[in-house]
Symmetry: C2
Subunit: 167 residues, 2 copies
DNA sequence: TATTGTTATACTCTATAACTATA
DNA sequence: TATAGTTATAGAGTATAACAATA
């Protein structure tokens, strides 16, 4: 069976003109779909918040920095596990943060195979600044919700995460 | 100021042994963080559901196929806008789906610049199969929630998306 | 002139496999 | 043997800039 090349155009005529309004069918009733769309909008708000303050950071980098700050001396393996990513994925991310002088790989006193991760003084200061921006961002994305609704939302998300975890 | 090379190791000794339990600090109180973690777990459940059925599909591809099915003849620009991605990003995604014979780029009868996107017969059948798998996946991730809680969660997510949109 | 789809390019996130040093 | 970090590599998702065809 010969297959047409990529982005070939089917020459069969078609009658329907382009749809005016987009019909999303069942998608808006799907938790996974709404989760993905919301997460995408929240990511954009995060980026815009940091860009407006002249800072560059992704949500993932923020989470990583907080983890290292709260768990000084942790290994790359422990960090990768906490982030749910492969240890090889972590390497270039740490390289970048280290190049920005926010983080250091120190010698572990107990196991020469591991690195003891830690923030630099500059990293500590940066995390303090970043935390203020994150709080402003959080306030904005939760602005349509009461405090009780925000807590409820987080609870419901945790329940979904637990159910999804039990594969 | 000379900067050490990537993944250099700081020779300053450090006393703290690796932390036993991970301290996540303020992260679990952040909507953005919980959203990201939940979305990641849901994505993994989606992938596992499809893999277990011998099918290969991402949530993004499912959303795209449903959009094309419900809006037959739509252009690539319209689809890119509906998905919130750049038109250039869409090209290789459509190439892949077209190579799998699920989707076709047809000639538009009204505007030779555009393609009228549509599903093949095989694509229609596949979407029917995929929809059954998605429903099973949705049932699993929502298994910790009542029907009312699921609806509420979707409502709260929409409110967050709206607030994040208004940048 | 403006729009659509494509290409070239680049960057990030993700993984697997194999290598080195160490335990 | 097993573990930690690194490298090489590859695939997917994302974007911008420039181009050809068409409006």
């Amino acid at each position: 069976m010969a297959r047409p090349p990529a982005h070939s155009v089917d020459e069969t005529a078609v009658g329907a003109p382009p749809a005016r309004r987009i019909d999303r069918g069942l998608l808006p009733t799907l938790l996974g779909y709404e989760l993905r769309r919301t997460q995408s909008a929240v990511f954009a708000d995060f980026a815009a918040t940091f860009a407006a303050a002249g800072e560059t950071l992704t949500p993932g980098e923020f989470g990583l920095l907080v983890l290292v700050e709260r768990n000084d001396g942790m290994s790359q393996m422990a960090l990768a596990r906490a982030l749910g990513i492969d240890r090889s994925t972590l390497v270039p991310i740490l390289d970048r943060l280290q190049a920005r002088d926010l983080l250091v790989r120190r010698r572990s006193p107990t196991d020469a195979r591991t690195h003891a991760l830690g923030l630099t003084a500059e990293g500590e200061q940066a995390v303090a600044r970043f935390t203020r921006l994150v709080k402003a961002h959080e306030k904005r994305i939760a602005s349509g919700l009461s405090a009780a609704e925000t807590r409820l939302l987080i609870e419901l998300l945790e329940k979904v995460r637990t159910a999804a975890r039990s594969l």
